[in-house]
């Protein structure tokens, strides 16, 4: 205690505090990541809960929920609905949005400012207003909300996001590539088909993924325009009061891993393409 071992103690705390102050921002970011993932981890953990009816407290570990995710009534039909709606809305919104993005990115025309405004407004409007106004119109027209009104509303709010994503990709294209194609005997149609479209494709694919996830996850607008039709988020909301069934956690966690898988694969493919 007296001679040899005395110095390390203060030096250790000193070093530790220096390490902390130098890495403060990294530590902070680490905590933020933990915060982001707590509910995801919780949802995943409770997908293994042997919960019976209410999934509020931990009852014990089981794989049953994963083996039979359709076990709880309505879960799977809600998911199936959400997927159908998601796919339909994605296809329509991606086509319409990509067309607008090309008009904005590759053509001169009158009314560009109002077009941009019309694209921007739905993104600057709270969902509750989007949902309420569409419902107000359907009610005034005497339309009964259901599957198709959901699709209509989802396409409406996805278009803007598709336009913005695809437009960004088009804007980042070097115009000389298209000029080079025309210089090399490709007419307008061939230039679009062999050069422009393949180069914009990653942007379109990204926009489609974004549209699908927005549609699949939407609750507020859906809730206003769904009538008696159920979607997965709506199912979760309705059953939240008495604790959602563990099967819903299974679906949510599975979605998480599928999406993560797609993104990781996409990144790996992109990197390999660069390398090889």
């Amino acid at each position: 205690m007296t001679t040899l071992s005395a110095p390390p103690m203060p030096s250790f705390t000193h070093r530790a505090s220096r390490w902390i102050s130098r890495n403060l921002i990294r530590i902070y970011a680490g905590v933020a990541f933990v915060y982001l993932f707590i509910p995801v981890a919780y949802t995943f953990a409770f997908s293994f809960n042997d919960s019976g009816k209410s999934n509020l407290v931990w009852q014990g570990f089981t794989l049953d929920n994963w083996k039979n995710p359709c076990g709880a009534p309505q879960v799977c039909s809600a998911v199936a609905n959400s997927i159908q709606i998601g796919v339909l809305s994605t296809v329509i919104a991606t086509i319409l949005g990509t067309m607008i993005a090309f008009a904005l990115g590759r053509h001169k025309f009158r009314g560009r400012t109002s077009t941009n405004l019309l694209i921007f407004l739905p993104m600057a409007t709270p969902e509750v207003v989007l949902g309420a106004s569409l419902l107000a119109m359907f009610l005034n027209l005497g339309v009964n909300p259901g599957f198709w009104t959901i699709v209509i509303s989802h396409v409406m709010f996805c278009i803007s996001f598709v336009v913005v994503t695809v437009k960004a990709r088009i804007a980042s294209l070097d115009p000389r590539l298209e000029q080079a194609a025309m210089d090399l005997y490709a007419n307008e149609k061939d230039t679009f088909r062999y050069v422009t479209l393949p180069l914009v494709m990653p942007g379109i694919a990204g926009a489609a993924l974004l549209a699908f996830s927005l549609s699949f996850d939407d609750f507020i607008i859906t809730n206003f325009n769904s009538g008696i039709e159920t979607t997965f988020p709506k199912f979760v909301y309705v059953s939240a009061a008495r604790g959602i069934p563990a099967e819903a956690n299974v679906i949510g966690s599975a979605m998480f891993f599928i999406a993560l898988f797609i993104v990781v694969i996409g990144q790996v493919v992109a990197r390999q393409r660069k390398k090889s």
């Binding site: 600057a124 939240a240 966690s253």
Partner: protein
């Protein structure tokens, strides 16, 4: 000077290559624009129209006729001003909190992550992949009265048994902060990433300390991201009612809750419409002022 001209013009977008003053752009625009006009613009007018309707005496519930009763707006606002103001206060606090959490996060990813940059970016987006509602429900259970946090805190001497985290303004604001955090982080990252780290070094070289560099160089350069991020957080947060429903109590209701219940529980369409319309108008005004003030036009 002339030579600046030549250099920029030859590379600028639509000018060169495929030119068109034909009807092609209109054909490309038409389907999407018709969709937006039919299912966004017309509904807004429909909403405006509904907002001044009145239920005739003795008529069935849900039946309204147009009487241009603008008093509806006054009535709706007076009856719900508390929730109305609360929505903006909660959304404002949540936006500031999200900014405080997201800025260091985005900064770390942009400047400190090295080769893990892409991995961290995926991690920021990844929570999105689990349903928004499931995550919020998870928070209600984590913060719940029987949940792990409250039970742990109750063991400590300075909390008594009445301690609650859910059904409080704290829970609602945390929920809002949490939900829109990625909307704040991604645009922030996008503009931080564009900053050349050498400009930060240059600031240090020119006698700016860490804080001054941050204030005078980093923040101004990140401004487009800050503006986009705060808007992407504030707008949906102000209109949200899920967090208030799941994490709050009757005294934390936001305007979204009122609109929803006026539509579905009370079937009072004119009030719901008037409130929606006021909310949208307020947000548009706030957004316009904010964009003007921050001097950033390139949002879309």
């Amino acid at each position: 000077m002339a030579f600046l001209h030549g250099a920029t013009r030859t590379h600028s977008g639509p000018r060169s290559g495929i030119k068109s003053r034909s009807i092609t752009p209109y054909l490309l625009l038409a389907p999407g624009m018709i969709w937006l006009i039919t299912f966004f613009i017309i509904p807004i007018f429909s909403l405006a129209s509904t907002s001044t309707m009145v239920r005739p005496e003795g008529a069935q519930i849900g039946t309204y006729v147009q009487e241009l009763r603008f008093q509806n707006y006054v009535d709706a606002f007076v009856a719900n001003q508390e929730q109305y103001v609360r929505s903006f206060v909660y959304a404002g606090i949540a936006t500031l909190l999200a900014l405080a959490i997201a800025f260091p996060l985005a900064y770390t990813i942009a400047f400190k992550a090295g080769k893990y940059r892409n991995v961290l970016l995926v991690l920021v987006v990844a929570p999105f992949f689990t349903s928004f509602l499931l995550r919020t429900v998870a928070w209600t259970q984590i913060l719940g009265d029987d949940g792990p946090i409250v039970s742990t805190l109750k063991l400590l001497p300075f909390f008594d048994d009445s301690l609650r985290l859910t059904a409080t303004p704290f829970a609602v604001v945390s929920g809002l902060t949490y939900n829109f955090l990625p909307f704040m982080t991604l645009p922030l990252y996008a503009s931080l990433e564009r900053i050349d780290p050498r400009t930060l070094e240059a600031a240090g070289d020119l006698y700016a300390n860490g804080f001054t560099t941050f204030k005078k160089v980093t923040v101004p350069l990140a401004m487009p991201g800050i503006v986009a991020g705060t808007l992407l957080t504030f707008i949906p947060a102000a209109g949200d009612y899920i967090n208030a429903t799941l994490l709050g109590n009757p005294s934390t209701k936001m305007i979204g809750n009122v609109i929803e219940s006026r539509f579905f529980a009370v079937v009072d369409y004119p009030t719901a419409a008037a409130l929606s319309f006021t909310l949208m108008a307020t947000i548009l005004i706030v957004v316009t002022l904010y964009i003007r003030k921050s001097g950033t036009d390139e949002l879309v």
